[in-house]
């Protein structure tokens, strides 16, 4: 699948957010978009699946202009996993994920749809939650269900808006790892917005760093996650070490590091109550 973004510009009334984004991506991979708050990561994703219309520029998927395709056909090719889930009414997990089959479903496809749903639930190891109420799940389980809903769309491109933001470290790694494996197994271009630079760097194939409305850096994680880039974009001093071929970011605080930070004598917090 080939995603071509050609000179996209987007702004909310008078405030420009994306100034000139151009991207050419071919083949299945895990691509993460990073950048400071408000730089336009969500906006860029929304331009890809037409939730927002860019002021200028076009998006092409496999050569087709995204605007020329019907919404349903677009949904067959591009899936979306939102940042938070709507939970006004109680709905079972299966029903929630089943919604994602809408672009493909016909009035007699229920059986096939259910097969796909259950396969996906098994893949993400949440099959035993199938008939549970979506509202009763933990954050990690929520995320997996949302991911399942995006996957059953059988998309070529999957967009995820901060899929790991409210997960613990085990689940962060688990979900990101699943995304990486899925991109290869199912032949999907997975585009993920992430605030956790290290997790993104560990599993992504490509990283895009946005800054000032432009793509500041793009390449492998090692190429993008450098001391200089971090300083330029986030204004943070750092050191980058290597861990199994992937960069790992260590944040520095020159005013604090190396200072004598010992506490006044008598200050402590311990598991047991001291009786001296």
């Amino acid at each position: 699948m080939r995603l071509v973004i050609d000179g996209i510009e987007f702004g909310y009334s008078s405030v420009p957010v994306l100034k000139d984004i151009t991207l050419d991506s071919n083949g299945p991979q895990l691509l993460s978009i990073i950048g400071p708050n408000g730089v336009g990561k969500s906006t860029l994703i929304h331009c890809i699946n037409r939730i927002l219309s860019p002021n200028k520029g076009t998006v092409f998927i496999d050569g087709d202009n995204v605007n020329d395709v019907s919404l349903k056909d677009l949904a067959k090719r591009v899936g979306y996993v939102p940042y938070s889930a709507n939970d006004t009414f109680p709905l079972s997990v299966v029903d929630t994920v089943l919604m994602g089959r809408h672009p493909h479903a016909t009035y007699k496809s229920l059986d096939k749809d259910l097969d796909i749903v259950y396969d996906t639930l098994r893949l993400l190891d949440i099959e035993d939650l199938a008939l549970r109420n979506f509202n009763e799940l933990s954050a990690g389980q929520h995320q997996k269900v949302m991911l399942a809903r995006g996957l059953v769309q059988e998309p070529e491109i999957l967009l995820l808006d901060e899929p790991t933001s409210n997960l613990d470290i085990k689940h962060q790694m688990e979900v990101t790892r699943i995304l990486r494996d899925l991109s290869q197994e199912k032949n999907i271009l997975i585009i993920m917005i992430s605030h956790d630079l290290n997790i993104a760097a560990k599993y992504s194939d490509t990283m895009i760093m946005l800054h000032g409305g432009y793509i500041y850096a793009i390449g492998t994680p090692s190429e993008v996650l450098t001391k200089e880039n971090i300083k330029a974009v986030y204004d943070v001093e750092s050191e980058v070490i290597e861990s199994y071929g992937r960069p790992h970011l260590i944040m520095l605080d020159h005013e604090f590091d190396g200072r004598d930070t010992s506490l006044p004598p008598g200050t402590y917090a311990s598991k047991d109550k001291r009786v001296d």
Partner: protein
């Protein structure tokens, strides 16, 4: 596959509920014929029905009561209850708001305005209709004004769900203020007439008044049911619905228009009966869940049953019977409070 079978058995149970309600409606329909001011036993009702159908009427008096008075009312009660409840379920699902009902788009205030105007003017805008039909026609026309405005807007420019609701509310306020003005400056009798129209009653139903609303309701109902997947996806939120191939703006407008049309058709005959459209879907949801494919039929049959029973109670309450709108409010209200409390504990609703 084990999981899939579990799901299917759950679905079967849901349909069981729906069928059960439908059966109950049939039973209650016949039973309801024996309830009313004049005492006619159940078996006598049954006999009269059979006699009428076979053309062998023995007691014209009883025949008149049962066949021409009570039966149409009961039948219409089922239709109205089903329509309002179905409409309510669609509105609640699409707007993701448990307080939505079929009147949300200004249908009720429009209908009230139309009926009030008909009552004080004594005739309708179109001169062909007599007194009773004047009210109906006016109510129908005016109840569709808010929806028409929304449709017009949507042709010329892009209308988001928020704007749709805003226009609905704006029209509602304007109409309500005008009605308030009318009610205040009218005579006592006129005010009483307008007020009782507003509360909603089935007492004026005859076989002549059923076909039109029935036809419109069936058409709209079938259309809505055929859109069930689209409506269901709206529950996921605007962005998610969009990314699953559903245009949220267009869907909202089209389905709202269908619900409003159906509701208008029914309400112009009966007045604005409350609570069925609000509470019916909630109770149906307790039994069949929120999946639209099951919620629509479940709401419809439960709503029909509910209003039928409410009408029975209304017929025997008070000196001359009460309007069904009052009973549906009195039963519906505590039910609603109960549901609210239950929902708070169940869903992430604070």
């Amino acid at each position: 596959m084990a999981g899939k079978e579990d799901y299917k058995s759950v679905v079967r149970k849901k349909w069981l509920f729906i069928v059960l309600c439908a059966v109950l409606i049939m039973v209650a329909l016949v039973l309801s014929l024996s309830i009313g001011m004049y005492d006619i036993s159940f078996f006598d009702c049954y006999r009269v029905l059979i006699e009428h159908i076979t053309g062998n009427i023995t007691d014209p008096y009883e025949d008149d009561i049962i066949w021409y008075t009570r039966l149409p009312i009961s039948v219409f009660a089922v239709i109205v209850g089903a329509v309002l409840s179905l409409g309510g379920s669609v509105m609640q699902t699409m707007l993701r708001n448990p307080l939505a009902d079929p009147y949300t788009m200004g249908v009720s205030s429009g209908a009230l305005l139309g009926a009030s105007l008909a009552i004080i003017l004594g005739e309708s805008v179109l001169p062909f209709f007599n007194d009773q039909w004047a009210k109906i026609v006016m109510a129908f026309m005016f109840s569709l004004i808010p929806v028409s405005v929304i449709l017009l807007f949507s042709i010329k420019r892009k209308v988001t769900p928020t704007k749709v609701i805003l226009i609905g509310i704006a029209m509602m306020y304007i109409f309500s203020a005008i009605v308030q003005l009318i009610m205040i400056t009218s005579s006592e009798e006129t005010l009483a007439e307008i007020y009782s129209w507003r509360v909603g009653t089935l007492a004026l139903t005859t076989w002549e008044t059923i076909p039109i609303p029935l036809a419109i309701s069936i058409v709209c109902g079938i259309l809505l049911m055929s859109h069930h997947r689209r409506i269901n996806v709206m529950m996921a939120g605007t962005k998610s619905a969009h990314s699953m191939g559903v245009d949220p703006n267009r869907t909202l407008i089209i389905e709202t228009a269908l619900v409003s049309l159906m509701t208008a058709a029914v309400v112009s005959f009966t007045g604005t009966i409350g609570f069925v459209g609000l509470v019916g879907p909630h109770i149906a949801r307790l039994f069949v869940g929120s999946e639209t494919k099951h919620l629509i039929p479940a709401s419809a049959v439960f709503g029909g049953l509910f209003l039928l029973l409410a009408n029975c109670i209304a017929r025997v309450s008070g000196e001359y019977g009460l309007p069904v709108g009052v009973i549906s409010a009195i039963i519906g209200c505590p039910l609603f409070i109960f549901i609210l409390i239950k929902m708070r504990r169940k869903s992430a609703w604070s």
